[in-house]
Point group: C2
Chain length 459, copies 2
């Protein structure tokens, strides 16, 4: 990178805010995927104004700008394949305002989401979206990917909480959207446009979020099904009864076997699926009535056993199983590749059947768990990346996973985004007209194509 | 209009699908506002394909295309000030599919929203958004304006239910967005972009909506407050307790006096405000517990009286009051002009105080009611349009209403949209950067500016 540009970046962000040794660059070369590419320089801004100046310089020099939070993304959206400037937002991690009367919080984009959650919970407030990365991913990254999580069936995804954004545009201008307003139909919905745009339309530097009152009571049940089809039928029956549990998570037999082998929690190994179901609220009697109604529906739909946690310790144990999936997989094989395909929820049994067929065809395990109420499944392929033959199989298997999702009326991603990895499948998923419309929006907002180039869209 | 174009339009939409006599055109010259302008021709398409062909012809001839449903809009968004083609969507009113397993419905854009609601309710499903025009406005218009309603505090606005759209673009291409997917983060959120775009980015011809299970139980309370500030405090206290009522409507003393004069329902005339609060669900005990908790909070916050309806007849009577606001206003003055400003909900008492000051300053009544939980108020100015002096005052009063909303951190519209009427206030509301970003999206998607020209944006 041109020394003159480095000098200018240091003038903007301070000497300690610019990294450019090979060792430093390597730290910012990867995310939660297997992809890797070094940026030419890393800048760690402390203010929106600094971001604006950095982008103005990048626009002048036609340099790519790739924004990242903690680099936990699962679609390689923040891997800087074209080099250029990587903006690390982690120093912009302040809480700017908690407004209790209006139940909102304004934060800088680089705050870790769990830190934000803890801060508002101290005031009796609640920010529900809970991606599994919640303890290390940043809210800016969550917004840029429109992150989900187990709580999102009842409470909605990240985008449902975005009331306003501060965004640095591709020419360095600062855009402010929204406000402390539940309803706002003045002009186009720019909050929604930037949410999920994966750093390709602007750089999110501040986020204003809607909050709820913190639920004070929860009841949790683990439900065993000998037949997968009955688990799926149960999901529909619960929702049709007007009950929207806080979580409604499915784990198939492969996931259960993995977790049990690692954790010895006494999980059933002779079932096709379990559902982990939680109800919550602020009124204990109502929450209890709801889990009892859920239990009744489960039994009617052919559940073999319904275990409602009798106390907090039992509840923690049930959650331990769900939260142990990823570490348990790590013990089972050197590598895993988890996708997040989404299908209409009635198609879940067929999706799982086809995933098992893909696993059998290639001879590599696929462990299946996910958010059954949302139709959002996480098939995880277990393999050893050192074996090139296995890696080739994995790539073919992923392509088949995406194909089955589309065939069943679903799509490529419910939570992770497109990034670099799903670009080849975009045209098939959305069709040429949608791609053209989206590219024309990208072109209108970033005519030099400097913001996260080479992401989201096929070439 | 060129006879040749009329002939081509008849070839596309059939002879009975094209209207061009002055009498016919006059019928399509106005909406729910005081604005009026005749189109040059009205076309009533029956299919998306016909809409596509009409728009291709319009693009070729550089003719404006203004789409309308039932013309109930309150911002003159469908008044064709530039003439051209008005597309009336009312013949595209079919229900295409109700999918019970996935709880979705697919409809043509011209269906009246209440017809859609009734059809899904017969299957035990529920489409919650309930603008007061629900019995005559169309779902296409609701989506184009992102309509709200009393139910939207608990259930969300129209846009929260849009899973997919069929849209005819400005060059006649047909775009299909979304699917039967609760979570979908593949590419930009085009559903959200077209929702609320008021016919300026594309023509919505089909809508795929998410549905819920129909609530089977409701409890309703009318709560009287001697002091307005206590009513507002109560709203915050209820939400802070983790209770989200199905409705939380406020009526001030002017609204109560109007309704009582017209309807003789025994409403209190010596209070500053009432709240109409409803809880609903599928479990009677929980719904009852919730309204009892609400009643307790109301009393703690200084309510003078809490009347919970003991039966369905009493409940109907309470709703009668809320639903009678508009007809009652019509008896009080020849004309009314209702806005839908939105403020952070903590600012409601100050907003009402300032609205009363505007009323006093100009000597015309402002009746205030609205969705207190959302901060969305409907100040209605009562006047006689035949008196030019009064009309001039009304225009000044509206400008002051918008100014106060912006000063309190609010915005111009929570439900009605910008249309033609709020354009002069857009730059002040959103700032030049936001307007420029939005105009660049408009330019990218409609380079000839034929889709509802002269709407939403300032010149």
């Amino acid at each position: 990178m041109d020394q003159n540009i480095i000098t200018q970046l240091k003038q903007i962000a301070g000497k300690d805010g610019v990294l450019h040794t090979p060792e430093d660059l390597a730290v910012y070369s990867y995310d939660g995927t297997f992809e890797e590419h070094c940026p030419d320089v890393v800048v760690l801004p402390r203010t929106t104004e600094q971001v604006s100046q950095i982008v103005k310089l990048a626009a002048q020099e036609h340099l790519p700008v790739v924004t990242r939070g903690m680099g936990s993304g699962l679609a390689a959206a923040s891997v800087p394949f074209s080099g250029g400037i990587t903006l690390s937002m982690t120093r912009m991690n302040r809480i700017l305002e908690i407004d209790e009367a209006n139940a909102t919080v304004r934060v800088e984009a680089g705050i870790v989401t769990a830190d934000l959650q803890n801060a508002v919970e101290k005031r009796g407030l609640f920010y529900p979206p809970d991606p599994s990365s919640v303890r290390h991913s940043t809210i800016g990254g969550n917004v840029a990917c429109n992150a989900g999580g187990p709580h999102c069936l009842k409470y909605g995804v990240t985008g449902d909480y975005v009331l306003g954004l501060t965004v640095v545009l591709a020419d360095g201008r600062i855009l402010r959207t929204g406000g402390k307003l539940i309803k706002d139909v003045v002009g186009y919905d720019l909050n929604a446009l930037f949410t999920g745009s994966e750093g390709t339309l602007g750089i999110i530097t501040e986020v204003l979020l809607r909050l709820l009152a913190k639920p004070t009571v929860a009841r949790t049940a683990l439900v065993e099904f000998s037949a997968l089809a009955n688990a799926s039928r149960t999901v529909n029956a619960i929702l049709a009864a007007g009950i929207v549990p806080a979580t409604l998570e499915i784990m198939d037999e492969t996931a259960l076997a993995c977790i049990e082998a690692a954790m010895h929690l006494g999980l059933p190994l002779d079932v096709e699926a379990t559902l982990l179901i939680e109800t919550d609220g602020t009124d204990e009697a109502s929450v209890v009535r709801e889990i009892e109604a859920v239990a009744g529906i489960c039994r009617q739909c052919g559940a073999r056993q319904v275990r409602v946690a009798a106390n907090e310790a039992e509840r923690a144990n049930l959650w331990k199983a769900r939260r142990s999936v990823s570490p348990a997989l790590a013990r089972k094989a050197p590598n895993k590749l988890g996708e997040d395909i989404t299908v209409p929820r009635s198609a879940i049994p067929e999706a799982i059947r086809r995933l098992k067929a893909i696993s059998a065809k290639y001879g590599l395990p696929i462990v299946i768990f996910g958010h059954a109420g949302d139709g959002n499944l996480h098939p995880n392929i277990l393999f050893d990346k050192r074996d090139p033959e296995q890696w080739q199989k994995v790539e073919q298997m992923v392509a088949e996973e995406f194909a089955l999702a589309l065939e069943l009326g679903g799509t490529l991603s419910g939570e992770h985004g497109v990034g670099a990895l799903k670009r080849p499948y975009m045209e098939k998923a959305l069709g040429p007209v949608s791609i053209h419309v989206q590219k024309s929006i990208k072109q209108a907002l970033d005519p030099l194509n400097i913001l996260n180039p080479g992401k989201v869209f096929p070439d």
